[in-house]
């Protein structure tokens, strides 16, 4: 039995302490407006978690997948049904089980990865996206035969205590995200992650070194879908507060892909940076549109401009810095010699130099 937790360096512990103080003490004391919690911090944590899922399968294992939103939908609706039908599980129990249900889908739709890669795999994972959304949409049981199309999510109750204020929901998301992020970092630093990266860098070589492709790839897909499932459940219950299949369409999958790539493939902190950027940039653009041009620019034009900028950034990053913003951050740190770091990025050199 291998230990789940690795040994940490002093730097890691300092980073952990900084993040904890920042998120548990500083943010709740200084940010009082509900808007920040309901529209920025909560979706940021949820989407960052989903992006970690995408990172595991794409950044660490090198499998091009495009179905994160499908697994999020599976998680969200599993959560709804578990709370509805098996109330004994409680919130945390349901969250874990809905993650596992998403993981089962992940295994099923990850199987083609054993045969194909690249764009071929992308098409196979698109099947999961469309199939899961269709399934939820067409079988009334998943929606408890609700005909309105939008179902209100149940209130979050943990150990008999309701968590309904934005601040309380923020803490729920924070706790889940923190635990899963730590676990993900452990996995990526341990033998699990080394196997993933071996498969990413050269699968045939990895296989000849004794890494089981079947086990590694299926494991990566399962864990990735688990993260997406939990993220989807949190996204629906803490952010949207409603459940509708349309919220998890292909656009969300692309968004998560962008977060993953712009943030920095093969890094955990890249997931947080990427999610923050993709989430905050439209907010910034809208406020510029409202305050500088006083609404002279149509909202649809602003959203088109936002799309153009995301696309341009994608191209620019692919040309000049395929490792994304996490690498820019690292470069900046090296330049100023600061010791501040939020996570270990020691694997930055190898990740995608070959494949990306």
């Amino acid at each position: 039995m291998k230990p789940v937790f690795m040994t940490y360096t002093k730097k890691d512990l300092i980073n952990l302490a900084i993040c904890m103080v920042l998120s548990v003490i500083i943010i709740p004391t200084f940010i009082k407006t509900e808007y920040w919690y309901t529209s920025i911090l909560i979706p940021w944590l949820c989407l960052a978690l989903a992006t970690i899922g995408q990172q595991i399968v794409m950044g660490y294992t090198g499998q091009l997948a495009l179905g994160a939103a499908g697994f999020m939908a599976a998680g969200a609706f599993a959560m709804f049904n578990l709370i509805l039908r098996v109330p004994e599980l409680g919130f945390i129990g349901s969250l874990a089980v809905s993650g596992l249900i998403a993981a089962a889908f992940g295994i099923l739709f990850g199987l083609p990865s054993l045969k194909v890669r690249g764009i071929y795999l992308m098409v196979a994972t698109l099947a999961s996206q469309f199939f899961i959304i269709w399934m939820i949409d067409k079988f009334g049981w998943f929606k408890n035969y609700d005909s309105s199309g939008i179902i209100t999510a149940q209130d979050i109750v943990i150990l008999g205590k309701p968590f309904t204020t934005p601040l309380a929901m923020y803490f729920v998301c924070l706790a889940v995200t923190a635990v899963l992020t730590l676990l993900a970092m452990n996995m990526t630093r341990g033998s699990t992650g080394r196997n993933w990266m071996a498969v990413r860098d050269m699968d045939i070589a990895a296989e000849s070194m004794g890494v089981s492709l079947l086990k590694t790839k299926v494991q990566a897909f399962a864990i990735s879908a688990f993260y997406c499932g939990v993220a989807g459940a949190l996204f629906a219950f803490c952010y949207l507060k409603s459940l509708e299949p349309v919220a998890f369409d292909i656009k969300l999958s692309f968004k998560i892909l962008f977060m993953c790539i712009l943030g920095g493939l093969g890094t955990i902190n890249g997931a947080f940076i990427g999610a923050a950027f993709i989430l905050l940039f439209p907010v910034l653009l809208n406020s510029v549109g409202n305050n500088v041009f006083h609404g002279a620019i149509d909202a649809t034009i602003i959203s088109s401009i936002e799309q153009v900028i995301f696309g341009l950034l994608m191209i620019i990053f692919m040309i000049y810095e395929p490792l994304g913003m996490a690498k820019l951050w690292e470069n900046l740190k090296q330049k100023f010699g600061s010791k501040l770091t939020f996570s270990n990025i020691k694997n930055l050199k190898s990740p995608l130099s070959k494949k990306f």
């Binding site: 091009l64 083609p112 045969k115 194909v116 690249g118 764009i119 071929y120 992308m122 098409v123 196979a124 698109l126 099947a127 469309f130 199939f131 959304i133 269709w134 949409d137 067409k138 079988f139 050269m202 045939i204 070589a205 292909i250 692309f254 892909l257 790539i261 649809t300 034009i301 959203s303 088109s304 401009i305 936002e306 799309q307 153009v308 900028i309 995301f310 696309g311 341009l312 950034l313 994608m314 191209i315 692919m318 040309i319 395929p322 995608l352 070959k354 494949k355 990306f356």
Partner: protein, 302 residues
């Protein structure tokens, strides 16, 4: 019995003809993949961009049909030129996955630009060909087949024959095939790589425009075209990424299968299985014949 058979024929023919519309989109992918081994994920966005530009020229500026078509085609040549200069050339030595990601970005840019320039509302495109059954066929063969479907089939056939002849018998085609085989070797014997790329991207742009006009006449010119174009991906997997006939056969298979499944099996599951059936079909093909029906065998070296 005879009625059932007729109905089946109608579904089949309708599916096959609708499949040619997928083929038209897939053709653009194949052109670029054949010449540069680049998977152009932005083909769907190019379809949307070009046909929205065409509609914009025609409806906002009252430019006549033929002139609007030429202008839209010229615009696609410019898009091809910019893509070659600004996206592909800097990524010349990058891996194929990097280029794929860059083309996803390019798709976003094109979608955004199109909507910023011509608005987001659904536009109606009238080609003068109705999307209703042809009376002559309905009377004589008792089959209800849309005139638009038949036109799309004919257009697809003409484009395919044209491209096939271009690839097979012209000097340009020879150059294209040489570049596809080994870009480095081709440029070392004096084949102008950038001209070839420009040509291919422009051709793909014009193909996208034609495909967009067909789709636009049926479903309206709107953002949903991008999602429809995604269905060209299973078509390519079935037909093979580097084969023009493959794109056609793949399109026909997808079109026919999805219609037949929808009509005969769909009702048991509440319908709308068209959305995912092509992808699942593609997965089965991937498991048994990953290179597609007409594709070249994928060989990977360690």
């Amino acid at each position: 019995m005879i009625d059932e058979l007729l109905f089946f024929m109608e579904v089949l023919v309708g599916g096959l003809l609708a499949g040619t519309m997928y083929s038209l989109v897939a053709l653009g992918f194949v052109l670029i993949f054949k010449a540069s081994a680049t998977f152009n994920f932005s083909q769907g966005a190019m379809v949307f961009f070009s046909v929205l530009a065409f509609c914009g020229f025609m409806q906002d500026f009252n430019i006549p049909f033929v002139l609007a078509f030429i202008l839209a085609a010229l615009l696609m040549v410019i898009v091809g030129l910019c893509t070659e200069r600004l996206v592909l050339r800097p990524l010349m030595n990058a891996s194929e996955d990097t280029v794929l990601m860059a083309t996803i970005g390019l798709g976003y840019v094109l979608e955004g630009l199109a909507q910023a320039a011509w608005g987001v509302e659904v536009r109606r495109l009238d080609l003068g060909i109705g999307d209703f059954p042809v009376p002559w066929i309905a009377d004589n063969l008792k089959l209800f087949i849309s005139a638009l479907d038949i036109t799309a089939g004919l257009v697809a056939a003409i484009m395919i024959i044209g491209l096939f002849l271009l690839f097979k018998y012209t000097k340009i085609g020879l150059g294209l095939r040489a570049v596809a085989d080994d870009a480095g070797a081709a440029s070392s014997i004096g084949i102008p790589l950038k001209h070839i790329m420009l040509l291919v991207w422009s051709a793909a742009g014009v193909v996208a425009l034609v495909a967009g006009m067909m789709w636009g006449a049926r479903a309206g010119v709107q953002f949903a075209l991008v999602d429809l174009a995604l269905k060209a991906l299973p078509v390519l997997i079935i037909g093979g990424f580097s084969s023009i006939p493959g794109a056609i056969v793949g399109g026909l298979i997808i079109g026919a299968t999805e219609k037949i499944l929808e009509v005969y099996i769909g009702p048991f599951f509440g319908g709308a299985i068209e959305g995912w059936a092509p992808y699942v079909l593609a997965i089965f093909f991937l498991l048994y014949r990953p290179e597609g029906l007409f594709g070249e065998k994928i060989i990977r070296r360690v």
